[in-house]
Assembly symmetry: C2
Homo-oligomer: 148 residues x 2
Amino acid sequence: MRLSTRGRYGVKAMFDLALNSSDEPVSIKSIAERQGLSEAYLEQLMAGLRKAGLVKSVRGAQGGYVLSDSPDKITVGDIIRSLEGSMAPVDCVIEDEETNCEKAEYCVTRLVWERIRDSINQVVDSITLQDMIEDYKRLHQRKAKNED
Amino acid sequence: MRLSTRGRYGVKAMFDLALNSSDEPVSIKSIAERQGLSEAYLEQLMAGLRKAGLVKSVRGAQGGYVLSDSPDKITVGDIIRSLEGSMAPVDCVIEDEETNCEKAEYCVTRLVWERIRDSINQVVDSITLQDMIEDYKRLHQRKAKNED
DNA sequence: TTTAAAACCGAGTAATTTACTCGGCTTTCT
DNA sequence: AGAAAGCCGAGTAAATTACTCGGTTTTAAA
């Protein structure tokens, strides 16, 4: 049940974008540097995020990426699902996909998988980039205090 | 974030065991038949469940497996974790494993992973084999009604 | 006491997935 | 014109998954 690097790096990158956003777009290079990711790989992920409509790209020199919406409107769930697909723990409970299992209606384990899926969706959809920014500020404040 | 077949088959097998348990042990062969699983593969999984202490084995002819505890004491979480390991979405938040990431204390994404992990644990630990048996009975009752 | 039914065990393996890299093309600012 | 960026498709080594197989040991029953 591990997330792949796509989801992990994707969340990191989007957080970085949220934290470092201004009116100028942010380049893959700078995100990759700050977050310690491979540029070429991150490029793939950004393509996915763009196709999902979570970021907008600006081509050409001085180009880069910007969030499509404000940080409090983008959730961790949006990010992970756009890069990894459904959070369903098994294929037969992927949302909006009719299952080809004819026993589905009377399947007990199916109920279990649905509950797991729903609970994961609930957490990831409840965490926005804004929440992460606030956590970040809190942690840094405390860090500064500790280092006195 | 899919479960592997180990976890899926494991839950199925344990449910089967709970449902078909009497004073006689239940053989791998019969579980595999009812659940449509490969005998040889299921054998591996049962070994894992035995090592985790969830089932006890009876060797020799007429042997098989029995639950180590009553169905209301065994959770889906126990089963999945014993076959797949921690439900942590990333390695750095596996329970009882100190992380080698020195930024851990100030890591924002880490907080996200912890929340996901905790929420998954909470659901899977809240579902017992007894719950599944009751779901099964409910579904079958309704099925019988529908088929009138 | 033989036989057969079962669990136990370790090793091997094909297929799939993951986590990338690479090279070239296009766009656009300076 | 040149450089800095994004865009795109293909390729690949390593890891993981989902198994299988062959043999050993144990034990109930005929």
